[in-house]
C-alpha cells in the first residue's frame, strides 16, 4: 500500500515505518472504540458498507482494481495459480514481502501463506489485556474482498501469529465457491 497516484514501472515509495505506525494507530483507535477484542477483529476484517470506514474487506474491493490495473495479470485458471499470484505478485507489490505457500489440502482448495516477517507488526507487542486481538486481521479482509471481486468466495484466517509467540505468521486460505455472474433482475 505504498503508493498513490503514481503508476507505470516507477512506483512511489513510502516509508514502511510510517505505514506500520499508521496501521498501529488504526488498530489502537479500534481498540478504544470497541469493548472487546472480538469486535475489533471483526471490524478489521468486516464488510462495512460505508464509504468512510474502509477496513479490510472494503480495501480489498478497491485494491483489486488497482492491482489489475497495474499488474496486467489475467484471470487465474485454478486456485493454485491464484495462490501464486497472491504471494508472488500482490504481497510483493503492496507489502514488499513474498510469503511462501505451503500445506495444500489434498483437494487443492486450502493452502497457507507463511509470512516470515510481517511488516505490520514491526513495532508491536500485544498487551496482556488484548490477548485475543488478531492484530493483522485487516489482511484477511483485504484478501477476502479482493478475491470476491474476481468471483471467488474464500475464507481467510490467521492460524499462527508471531505476536502470540508462534515462530511464523500463517494465514490459512480456503476456497469456498465460484461466484457466478448473473443477469440483473428484470432482464432476459
Amino acid at each position: 500500500m505504498s503508493r498513490q497516484a503514481n503508476r507505470g514501472t516507477e512506483s512511489k515509495k513510502m516509508s514502511s515505518e510510517l505505514f506500520t505506525l499508521t496501521y498501529g494507530a488504526l488498530v489502537t483507535q479500534l481498540c478504544k472504540d470497541y469493548e472487546n477484542d472480538e469486535d475489533v477483529n471483526k471490524q478489521l476484517d468486516k464488510i462495512l458498507f460505508s464509504n468512510f470506514l474502509p477496513r479490510g474487506f472494503n480495501i480489498g474491493v478497491r485494491l483489486i482494481e488497482d492491482f489489475l490495473a497495474r499488474s496486467n495479470v489475467g484471470r487465474c485458471h485454478d486456485f493454485r495459480e491464484t495462490a501464486d499470484v497472491i504471494a508472488k505478485v500482490a504481497f510483493k507489490m503492496y507489502l514488499g514481502i513474498t510469503p511462501s505457500i505451503t500445506n495444500w489440502s489434498p483437494a487443492g482448495d486450502e493452502f497457507s501463506l507463511i509470512l516470515e516477517n510481517n511488516p505490520l507488526v514491526d513495532f508491536v507487542e500485544l498487551p496482556d489485556n488484548h490477548s485475543s486481538l488478531i492484530y493483522s486481521n485487516l489482511l484477511c479482509g483485504v484478501l477476502r474482498g479482493a478475491l470476491e471481486m474476481v468471483q471467488m468466495a474464500v475464507e481467510a484466517k490467521f492460524v499462527q501469529d508471531t505476536l502470540k509467540g508462534d515462530g511464523v505468521t500463517e494465514i490459512r486460505m480456503r476456497f469456498i465457491r465460484r461466484i457466478e455472474d448473473n443477469l440483473p433482475a428484470g432482464e432476459e
Binding site: 488497482d66 489489475l68 490495473a69 468471483q151 455472474d181 443477469l183 440483473p184 432482464e187
Partner: protein, 145 residues
C-alpha cells in the same frame, strides 16, 4: 475515423458512465433502456462465445462490427466492462480501453473514497479527463460521421 460513444458497466450491469461524441442518430428509446439492452447483449455474447470456444477462453470477445460501426469491448477480471463504438476505420484499441480503465477509472473513481462504487460516477474530474482523453486519440476526428 471517429468515436461514437462509450459505455462503462460494472459487474452487476449498472451503467457507471456514458458519454457520446459523434452520434448522429439516437436509438429512440430511453437511455436506461438502451443501457439494459446493451448490457444484456454483451452478457449473451459473452456467455455464448465462451460456450463455443474450442479452448478455455482467455480474453473473451474483443470486438464486432456491422456495415456501419464497430463495437470494441474490454473486460477486467473484476467484471468492469468498457465498451466503445467507433466507425469501421479504427483498428484494435485494447490498449486505449485498458487505459480508460487503469488510468482514469481506477485512479479517479476507485481510489477516491468519496466515490461510491456500483453506481453512476458523479465525479466531474473523471468526466472531463475522459472527455479530453478520447478527444486526444489519433482516431478521434471531428469531421467524420
Amino acid at each position: 475515423m471517429t468515436v461514437h460513444n462509450l459505455y462503462l458497466f460494472d459487474r452487476n450491469g449498472v451503467c457507471l458512465h456514458y458519454s457520446e461524441w459523434h452520434r448522429k442518430k439516437q436509438a429512440g428509446i430511453p437511455k436506461e433502456e438502451e443501457y439494459k439492452l446493451m448490457y444484456g447483449m454483451l452478457f449473451s455474447i459473452r456467455s455464448f462465445v465462451s460456450k463455443m470456444s474450442p479452448l478455455d477462453m482467455k480474453d473473451g470477445f474483443l470486438a464486432f462490427q456491422t456495415s456501419r460501426y464497430k463495437l470494441h469491448y474490454y473486460e477486467t477480471p473484476t467484471g468492469i466492462k468498457v465498451v466503445m463504438n467507433t466507425d469501421l476505420g479504427v483498428g484494435p484499441i485494447r490498449d486505449v480501453l485498458h487505459h480508460i480503465y487503469s488510468a482514469l477509472y481506477v485512479e479517479l473513481v476507485v481510489k477516491n473514497p468519496l466515490c461510491p462504487l456500483g453506481q453512476t460516477v458523479q465525479s466531474e474530474l473523471f468526466r472531463s479527463r475522459l472527455d479530453s482523453y478520447v478527444r486526444s486519440l489519433p482516431f478521434f476526428s471531428a469531421r467524420a460521421g
